[in-house]
């Protein structure tokens, strides 16, 4: 395809991420990947195919298969990053970030500060999140833990275009970046395909580009209610907005793309217009990202709010296995639609 932006191709998120890694590894010798099952011949290319085929071009030194040692992976990434490399580490499921929490929170995030700004830790930690009938230890959305760690940046792309542009920025950033990828958005095909996946593809320019951190995007303009959502929830919010259009309700849907830094301004501007805010998030409710946004916006846009800010999140339970329960657990269009109607009752 060709637009005013130049040539583009349709791509899945998995493909876009792979291309971002490939381009950055070509551009910069210091960039390398490490993780479990990422480069084995005849293997998976990581749990969700993102690194598939890369070892052929870059060899096994730069697509480095590790033992199952999450603390070792993250610690090694910190050490390599401190001394001139730019590692992209992979954790098969975001749930396993808890096995490397000390390395991420106490070391990666703090080394720059503890050194008085003398060292840098340019590492990227890629983590697939989201519930997919794998149960309590393979379906968490732990993004909110990491927004609470000063020194870390947090990215959450929901389209292939964003995924590529943000991953390239993450790799070039001198700070450690947690890069969350939703399992149902990869659009992986073949043996690693996911049931119920949204698999969004988008037009991705052939020409190189990066996307800045801290800049959200308005996915849909509207004037009655602002909905902020990330990752898979962007699609649920858009579906709800489409449905509500028939009822004559106009929703503005914002995708922040990065959680740290966060585009507070974009949300404040929107709320000044709509007077109503709903945050949709697959993280658990208490202590989650949705609450952070609510707290920040009620402060920054106090005079403009015509209704309480509502949070539509996963409940405060672990991820249940049984598909009917999981469906209840993950926020859906119905809950979003109801919430919109509720805030509209405040006039």
């Amino acid at each position: 395809m060709s637009t005013e932006k130049g040539e583009t191709r349709r791509m899945t998120i998995a493909e876009a991420l792979r291309e971002a890694i490939r381009e950055e590894m070509r551009r910069d010798d210091r960039v390398f990947c490490l993780g479990e099952d990422i480069g084995i011949e005849g293997g998976f290319g990581g749990a969700f195919t993102v690194t598939l085929g890369l070892s052929e071009e870059f060899g096994h030194e730069r697509i480095l298969d590790t033992p199952i040692s999450e603390a070792g992976i993250a610690g090694a990434a910190v050490g390599a990053a401190l001394t001139g490399m730019r590692p992209i580490a992979d954790v098969q499921y975001a749930d396993f970030l808890f096995c490397m929490m000390d390395q991420l929170v106490n070391q990666a995030a703090k080394m720059t500060y503890m050194s008085g700004g003398k060292v840098k830790v340019p590492l990227v930690m890629r983590a697939p999140c989201g519930a997919t009938t794998r149960g309590a230890q393979h379906g968490q959305s732990p993004e909110s833990f990491f927004i609470h760690v000063p020194g870390l940046k947090v990215a959450c792309p929901s389209t292939a275009y964003d995924a590529k542009g943000l991953l390239k920025t993450a790799i070039r950033d001198d700070a450690p970046v947690l890069f969350f990828e939703h399992k149902l958005l990869y659009g992986s095909k073949g043996m690693r395909a996911e049931k119920d996946a949204v698999s969004p593809t988008s037009e991705v320019p052939t020409e190189e580009y990066t996307l800045p951190f801290g800049k959200g995007v308005v996915r849909r303009e509207g004037k009655d209610v602002t909905i902020v959502a990330k990752l898979l929830m962007v699609y649920k919010a858009l579906a709800a907005a489409t449905r509500l259009e028939d009822e004559g309700v106009s929703c503005e849907v914002i995708d922040p793309r990065t959680l740290v830094p966060f585009d507070t301004e974009m949300v404040v501007d929107s709320v000044r217009k709509t007077g109503r805010l709903i945050i949709v998030d697959e993280c658990n409710r208490t202590g989650g990202w949705a609450g952070e946004v609510a707290a920040e916006i009620q402060e920054k846009a106090f005079g403009y709010l015509e209704a309480p800010i509502l949070r539509i999140t996963a409940p405060d339970t672990p991820v249940p296995f049984s598909p009917v329960m999981e469906k209840f657990y993950v926020p859906d269009e119905d809950r979003i639609t109801d919430a919109v109607r509720e805030v509209l009752r405040w006039r």
Binding site: I40, G42, G43, D65, P67, D95, T133, R134, S322, M325
Partner: protein, 322 residues
């Protein structure tokens, strides 16, 4: 070599058949789209779970992994309860809250499986501690794969169990691969049991496809544990006769290697051993096999007929009811 009593041999063969046939059925149902979630099947490794658990009492414990169906069945969780759990039904052994990767039932000593690789190891140490503090002579067998021996939790758990002479048997199912990763890309040792020395405990490697060998070696370790002499590390050499998960086609394995191991299928090995020693007739074996097939069908029926949880049930059981 110890010869277990005939009833024990029959039970072991029956259990191995139960595991094998359940897994084959589950795989079929999964491919048909009847079964949700993901799956890690135990096909080819049956002799490990069964050889280990034949040494255990009802009051003893096991901990398990992301590949738990075989362990749970060997410890006594019913086929029905396992099958129903895989279907996400309320009559499942975890009420449909757990799913494939968390199968287990503490009522028979099978701790709901921990699917974090290595995660079960310190938990088993704590169970050993509890068995000792409560002054029981119970033991805990802790199952984990070759991949788990490189996790920090493994290290911390083994060291503590060794230090306090806890009644734990650490059973490493070395099936040569962790997902797609061959063991040589994970550890620089010929035998994983060499790691035992780092904790000052005995380590032994055994043919994990020979249920009688596993039974004997683990039996000694269990006795040692019961006597309060501390843990043992047992490495069972075995092989997955299936993919790592779901529709994995094992592109990372050598087809010849697979064929070699297929010849050493633990069910074949046991059948040969038993018939050669004239302990069981081929007809009897066939009878067991067929009986198990009926059990499996019943389990599927039970699971299909079972109540599906209500969506809002997901709000329950976050904290234990007092």
């Amino acid at each position: 070599m110890i010869r277990p009593p005939r009833e024990s041999l029959v039970r072991m063969y029956q259990r191995m058949q139960q595991i094998r046939q359940l897994e084959e059925k589950v795989y079929y149902l999964f491919l048909q789209g009847d079964m949700p979630g993901t799956l890690h099947l135990y096909i080819g490794m049956e002799a490990c779970a069964v050889g280990v658990c034949e040494n255990l009492r009802h009051e003893d414990y096991i901990t398990s992994t992301h590949r738990p169906h075989g362990h749970a069945i060997a410890k006594g969780v019913s086929l029905k309860a396992v099958m129903a759990e895989l279907f996400g039904k309320s009559v499942g052994c975890c009420g449909g809250y757990g799913g494939s990767m968390h199968v287990g039932d503490l009522a028979v000593g099978s701790v709901p499986a921990i699917a974090i690789v290595g995660g079960g190891v310190p938990v088993a140490t704590g169970i050993g501690l509890s068995c000792k503090m409560r002054k029981t002579d119970n033991v805990v067998c802790c199952f984990f794969g070759d991949g788990a021996v490189n996790e920090g939790a493994f290290h911390e758990g083994l060291n503590m169990a060794a230090l306090w002479d806890l009644p734990v048997v650490f059973v490493c199912e070395n099936n040569l691969y962790a997902a797609s990763t061959p063991i040589a890309q994970a550890v620089k040792l010929a035998h994983l049991s060499e790691r035992a020395g780092a904790y000052g405990i005995p380590g032994v490697t055994v043919d994990g496809n020979d249920v009688l060998a596993v039974y004997e070696v683990v039996g000694q370790a269990v006795e040692r544990a019961r006597r309060g002499e501390g843990p043992t590390f047992v490495e069972c050499n075995t092989y997955r006769l299936c993919g790592h998960s779901r529709s994995d086609t094992c592109g990372y394995r050598d087809r010849e290697e697979e064929a070699e191991w297929k010849k050493r299928d633990p069910l074949l090995v046991m059948e040969e051993n038993l018939t050669e020693a004239k302990l069981i007739t081929p007809d009897e074996l066939l009878g067991i096999k067929e009986a198990v097939a009926r059990e499996i069908d019943e389990a599927v029926q039970f699971a299909r007929a079972g109540q599906t949880p209500k969506p809002e049930d997901c709000m329950q059981h976050v904290c234990a009811e007092e």
